[in-house]
């Protein structure tokens, strides 16, 4: 179907690009990396006669024009203990367009659960520009086991 995104080598390559982050964890600031996968997205901002559901491949317009998604984020953190270095964050996030239907500026709000040290809930907010490709997201976790604050410079295409 013309206009429908298909998984090609470009999509695979962009999925592999990590977003760098800094986390306050174990009384220190740690460097980390986060990847993004979107198992399911519903775009409430695209045209009503267009297909609104996406699985794994969500174009930037579809996401930043206004959407809600389930996401999974494998994370790596440069922690002292080996068992703290790899974790998985799963959650839900909504995007809202601010300028030029989200292509110039959009924001997001979300909640997630991280497997780091037995698990903890996090809340996040983000802002994105350049068609959603570049953004910054801040995650806060009230759980003392998780990283309290994580600032992520997000590079994401799909």
């Amino acid at each position: 179907m013309s206009g429908a995104a298909v998984p090609d080598v470009v999509w695979v390559a962009t999925q592999a690009v990590p977003s760098p982050e800094l986390a306050s964890f174990d009384h220190a600031t740690r460097f980390g990396l986060r990847w993004q996968v979107t198992p399911l997205l519903y775009s409430f901002g695209t045209h009503r006669s267009a297909r609104r559901w996406r699985a794994f491949i969500a174009e930037p317009f579809t996401r930043h024009v206004g959407s809600v998604e389930l996401f999974a984020s494998p994370e790596y953190m440069a922690a002292d203990r080996a068992e703290d270095r790899a974790s998985l964050r799963v959650g839900t996030r909504s995007y809202f367009p601010i300028a030029s239907r989200g292509e110039y500026l959009s924001v997001s709000l979300g909640a997630s659960y991280s497997t780091l040290r037995g698990g903890g809930v996090g809340y996040e907010a983000g802002a994105y520009t350049l068609f959603g490709v570049i953004g910054f997201a801040l995650t806060y976790s009230p759980s003392k086991e998780a990283a309290t604050w994580i600032g992520t410079l997000r590079f994401r295409y799909f």
């Binding site: 409430f44 695209t46 297909r51 239907r101």
Partner: protein
Amino acid sequence: MDRDAAIPLLLSALTALSASGCTASRFAGRGMAPLFSTPREVPNKIASPIRSDARVAVLWVGHATVLLQMDDKVFLTDPVFTGTVGELSRRLVEPGIDVDAVPAVDAVVISHLHFDHYSMGSIDALGPKIRRLVLPGGGLVYAADWSFDVRELPRWSTWSFDGAKITAVPVRHVGWRYGIDRGWMDTSFTGYVFEYHGLTVYFGGDTGYEPSFFRETARRFPSIDLALLPIAPLEPRDFMERNHEDPREALLALRDLGARRMVPIHFDTFVNSLDEVGDAPRALDRAAKEMHLEDRVERLAIGEQRVIVPRGARDAAPPSRAGRRE
């Protein structure tokens, strides 16, 4: 760092990139430099563009944006009224008409999805004035949930309404918006033919020279009153020529289409090439003289309006088909 210090540093970096000789960096340097300048003003902008003395009138807003009047119908092509396209390329000249002065538009057409042709901010600004939006086939995936009617038109398909018809016609270009989506956005580029009350206007959007496309369009639409044809970007030619007509090729397209008149578009509004302002219209003037087509070319300034078919005085005979390239 304050703005006064940042701007020279940025400009220095861009200049250094430009001096490197790399085509991509020269594009980037030229495209971003106007970010720090003010677009040239358009004097005496038209406030009431509907002409009672016209059957066909054209107002060039800039780039591929044309306000087209056909009797009591108003069409707008590839509307861009924003200060930048793609966030990083600023206009050289302000739009030729203020958004407030744009009348209700029966249909907005989008030729393809590049930022200098499909501007979300501009469509939002025009929003309440738009009755219909036409996208190229496959383009609906990049449509927002606007309140007006939106349709995509695959090649040779027609949308009829209120006695008017808009038909998608083939051009040679590309359909992607973000570059990285080129793998599947492979049909969303088109030209259009407007028909109303026996009048016919062709809009080429952005196209390379493909004579078979123009001749087939002429076969199906044998009496085109006006062709809106892109004449730039020009340089670097080996990079541009596949998807962009130069002025001579635009004149060949005029012949192929058998159109009575041509209005050149798609030049001197944004920086999207290595061209200098004025290169394309000068080349057009030279080529039109050599090809003896000066009397069929209506070159407008940005913000200028011209009556192509006056009311009560329909153009005489169509141009000789002998003039077409076979």
